[in-house]
């Protein structure tokens, strides 16, 4: 039996990048400490603020919601939860009830915004249309762009000061690597522990950004949280190739993920010199913030022969 480096109880996790073994209790404590440290160090939340958390029902967002509700209790913040129901059969329909149950048991107001009601089509239907029209865009593009836009709008309508997402270390490092490979300076520049306030955008915060995916999973499992653990049917492509590479590198050379994050965090201030600051406008179609005439969501919808059906997402009854 291998023992916890700190308390001598049975170890549940080998944190190889730090050369320590952790038992269930010490892992939970460590994750909570890092979560608090991220908030303090990057000033993610101020007392009295209203926070919207994006909750899919997966391990990361359920862990984030539990961590945030405890934090908000201490710091007198208000927490509301938003779930975007993209409409992915056999996946989101299973995680949504889990998100709802967790919010209910924690006494958090929970709002669901669906692609179907907003755009007249589920993601599954969009993917079928995209294939029929041969747009050559992959499902993650539609899902990512539209989910991000709806989350922002819903958080704004709910009067949130911050929008918290559950991106963990692995998510962040994958995004960094993807943008290195795609040479996408503006996307790269937008990564980080928080995204600064801009007209029309609720500032986004990522309190789990320095916690590896496996530790978030262990946190949720060891605390006995009810989470949805299933693989999105649309995974694949370059995202998966990059994720597999990073996991192989980390397994063989522990600490690589943190090294990539640290390097990026040192590069980031310099990126501002390269990335042009662009003016924020309002989408002529839906009114959401965009740098172009039409926002990316509306542009994608148009290509699919769809259009936005509702301007406002949150009605007093949609809770």
């Amino acid at each position: 039996m291998l023992k916890c480096t700190f308390c001598g109880r049975r170890a549940a996790y080998n944190r190889r990048y730090a050369g320590v073994l952790l038992c269930d209790r010490c892992l939970i404590k460590s994750v909570e400490k890092r979560f608090r440290r991220a908030i303090a160090e990057h000033k993610l939340l101020s007392p009295g603020e209203r926070v919207a958390v994006a909750v899919s029902g997966g391990k990361d967002s359920i862990a984030a919601m539990h961590l945030l509700v405890e934090h908000c209790g201490r710091k007198n913040c208000e927490l509301v939860a938003i779930t975007i129901d993209e409409g992915i059969k056999g996946y989101r329909d299973q995680s949504l009830p889990i998100a709802r149950e967790n919010a209910k048991s924690l006494g958090i107001e929970h709002y669901v915004v669906s692609f179907k009601r907003t755009f007249g089509a589920t993601l599954d239907q969009m993917v079928r249309r995209a294939n029929a029209r041969k747009t050559e865009l992959n499902p993650c593009t539609y899902c990512g762009v539209m989910r991000r836009s709806l989350l922002n709008q819903a958080a704004r309508e709910l009067g949130a000061d911050k929008l918290a997402t559950a991106h963990n270390l692995d998510d962040e490092v994958q995004a960094i690597m993807l943008n290195y490979v795609r040479a996408d300076f503006s996307r790269l520049h937008r990564l980080g522990p928080s995204y600064p306030p801009r007209e029309g955008f609720v500032p986004r915060i990522k309190p789990l950004r320095e916690i590896p995916e496996k530790e978030v999973a262990l946190y949720a499992l060891l605390r006995g949280l009810e989470v949805h653990l299933a693989v999105c049917p649309y995974t694949g492509g370059i995202h998966t190739e990059i994720r597999d590479f990073l996991n192989r590198i980390e397994a063989n050379h522990p600490n690589s993920k943190f090294m990539i994050l640290r390097m990026f965090d040192r590069l980031k201030p310099q990126l501002a010199r390269i990335v042009p600051e662009f003016e924020m406008r309002r989408c002529k179609n839906c009114g959401e913030p965009t740098s172009a005439n039409i926002c990316k969501s509306c542009e994608l919808l148009k290509e699919l022969g769809l259009r936005r059906l509702r301007k406002t997402l949150i009605s007093p009854k949609s809770s």
């Binding site: 291998l2 073994l21 269930d24 692995d170 999973a217 949805h228 995974t235 996991n247």
Partner: protein, 71 residues
């Protein structure tokens, strides 16, 4: 040197498998054999979450739980 026998259940897959391993084999050895990356899974041994460096014993039930779910 006799082999040890263990049962492996990959969560999400229907069937359990019985595997024979060298004595003193660790969970990490088993994962290598199954081509599973430790970054992407959590391992339960007889119901308890354990570290991959633990040695296997004859009759162990090993559950492999995939944790990477997103895009």
């Amino acid at each position: 040197m006799t082999c040890i026998k263990i049962v492996v259940k990959q969560v999400g897959k229907r069937h359990k498998r019985e595997l024979r391993l060298a004595p003193h084999a660790t969970i990490a050895d088993l994962l290598r054999k199954l081509d599973q990356n430790r970054e992407t899974i959590v391992v339960r041994r007889n119901g308890k979450i354990v570290v991959e460096e633990e040695r296997l014993s004859d009759g162990d039930l090993i559950e492999i739980l995939p944790i990477v779910t997103g895009g």
